[in-house]
């Protein structure tokens, strides 16, 4: 099966763009549902961090990026991978511990990277990818690449020292990086009310001379527009922007989560703000897509994810024989 080509531009700019945005959000959701199902059936081990409910952010952001532009991602990173163009077969294969997985079975869900699509990797350490994104942006500046680096992280990461040190470095050197905080309300079980004395987390930018903007992270068009402006600013040498996308994860933090820290009413309330449903309303209202178009995108997404799972299942299990040789990159003669 093939991965749809990346599409650059506003999700509402054309029928093609609208279809692409909807298809990609739907692919992310179906992918996460498939992962949850595979875990539930005992076919995957380890853990998983699902991004259901947060699909607008990766899709809106990546529609503002060229292939050469880079991203760093988080433990909740499946959506970022897919939106940047990763091959879902290799993603599922990785989760299943197969040789043909992105990491050859050595990394799993939290360590998928895809150099060809500019994905410098998910990260199992909260905030760990933020300084790395800043370093990649320094590379871009020093090598005059003209590219931008997107640093995805969650609300929890904003209380890590890594965020603060990296934000300051990016600002003093005016690096082409965009900091994207996907504020889904909770760092594991700690709500942002408990973890911050701030109404808008984007106000943290002020302390570093970085403009900060908070917006509806479930509105893919708003996400695109804010990212597009921040990317333009970064590429023109004006430095970083901090974007806070307010969103919500429908599922638990990981598979051990019993949702003791929030109510069912709260979760249901957020389900009415579903980013996919929201986008469907907008495209129908504007006459961009028909109900049949919409159904077709969901059908395609389901078909692609099922095909990816079936294909990935055929892979060979990763072989421990290669482990020792994989620690260091060989020194070329």
């Amino acid at each position: 099966m093939t991965t749809p080509a990346l599409l650059l531009g506003h999700p509402l700019a054309s029928q093609e763009n609208a279809r692409y945005a909807l298809l990609t959000m739907s692919r992310i959701r179906k992918f996460e549902e498939a992962v949850e199902d595979l875990f539930g059936r005992g076919m995957m081990h380890g853990t998983m961090h699902l991004s259901i409910g947060q699909e607008a952010s990766p899709v809106g952001v990546c529609m503002a990026l060229n292939l050469e532009d880079q991203i760093t991602s988080t433990h909740r990173g499946h959506g970022h991978c897919i939106a940047k163009g990763a091959d879902p077969v290799r993603m599922v294969a990785e989760l299943l511990g197969k040789e043909n997985g992105y990491c050859g079975g050595r990394g799993g869900s939290m360590h998928i990277a895809d150099v060809e699509t500019g994905n410098l990797g998910a990260n199992g350490i909260v905030g760990g990818g933020i300084p790395i994104a800043v370093g990649a942006a320094l590379s871009s500046q020093l090598m005059k690449k003209g590219t931008v680096v997107i640093s995805f992280f969650g609300d929890g990461a904003m209380n890590e020292g890594a965020f603060h040190e990296a934000a300051n470095l990016a600002s003093i050197w005016k690096l082409p990086v965009v900091f994207i905080c996907e504020n889904n309300g909770y760092g594991m079980s700690s709500s942002t009310e408990l973890a911050f004395n701030l109404e808008k987390l984007s106000d943290r930018g002020l302390g570093y001379g970085i403009p900060g903007i908070t917006l509806d992270g479930n509105d893919v068009s708003a996400v695109y527009e804010a990212t597009e402006a921040a990317v333009k600013r970064a590429k023109s040498g004006e430095g970083p922007t901090l974007l806070e996308f307010v969103t919500y994860r429908w599922k638990g933090h990981s598979r051990s989560d019993k949702n003791l820290y929030r109510t069912k009413e709260e979760i249901d309330e957020w389900k009415t703000k579903d980013p996919i449903l929201h986008f469907e309303h907008v495209v129908v209202e504007r006459g961009l897509l028909t109900e049949a178009d919409i159904a077709e995108q969901h059908r395609l997404a389901t078909e692609q994810v099922i095909a990816a799972v079936n294909e990935a299942m055929k892979g060979k299990p990763a072989d421990p024989a290669g482990l020792l040789d994989a620690v260091f990159k060989k020194v070329s003669a």
Partner: protein, 332 residues
Amino acid sequence: MSDRKLTMSEALREAMSIALDERPEVFILGEDIGIYGGAFGVTGDLYHRYGKERIRDTPISELGIVGTAVGAALSGMRPIVEIQFSDFTAQAMDQIVNQAAKIHFMVGGGLHVPLVLRTASGSGTGAAAQHSQSLEGWFANVPGLKVVIPSSPYEAKGLLLSAIDDPNPVIFLEHKLLYKVAGTEDVPEGAYRIPLGVSRVVREGKDLTVVATGIMVTRVLAAAAELDKEGINITLIDPRTISPLDMEPVYASLAKTGRLMVVQEAPEHGGFINEVIARVVTGPSLGHLIAPVTRLAGMNVPIPYAPQLEKAAVPQVEDIIKQAREVVVNWR
């Protein structure tokens, strides 16, 4: 070729200068490495020769500095990070241990991190417990890091050039007492490279094989000169990189001497010398041993301040002489 007895600082600076000339992707970042010339003067005049883009002063943000270097290394650059004191690497451990060391392996080989982290290590300057540690054992215990400990200016230059060439993260631990000391060997002006992972036989003697790195190489050499007068002859082996660790010369030497002594400045508990012992007693040399293995290490204490306390906490020349003599004399 004229006499070129450089200090380790000068030799390191020459290596960096060669690398900066050879490769446009090399740059240096760290605290006070620019106009100031580095906390120990190692970067010296490089700022004036290569400019502020490539000799990049940073705020005091060790985690941010190392993380930025990791990201730059992933995207085509070849950063050399200077951390003023190795103790401060504790501030940057996530980026060293969880990121730099693991990325190549963890993501399946598609990315690599050609990064050198140079830092000043060891005691002897009266800087006390937070500016004097020898942390090589920490790093050697993390798969994915190479750990280099140069013992002289000549060694430092050749090893640093190899470290910069290496496509993997290299922790380069420079003993601060060696920075200002002129070496006994000439340091060639141009580029030369000492491969990582190859031990050096520093001197040969029939009675005892000593394994030591860094400043302890200097101290064992001084001890060996004294012991020569007593007719006790020492072989000294400097692994130069403790990860990866080349044990072959140690095994070869033990076949001749039958006696092993290991020396380090770091606290004994959990130290790298214990790995040397373990490989000897579980490996091909066990049958060659004619004496119990002996080790000499720092006390299991934080490095204290007062000069007499500081000296007492780590092996000195006289400690080495005494312990080496004992093992040879008692196990004739």
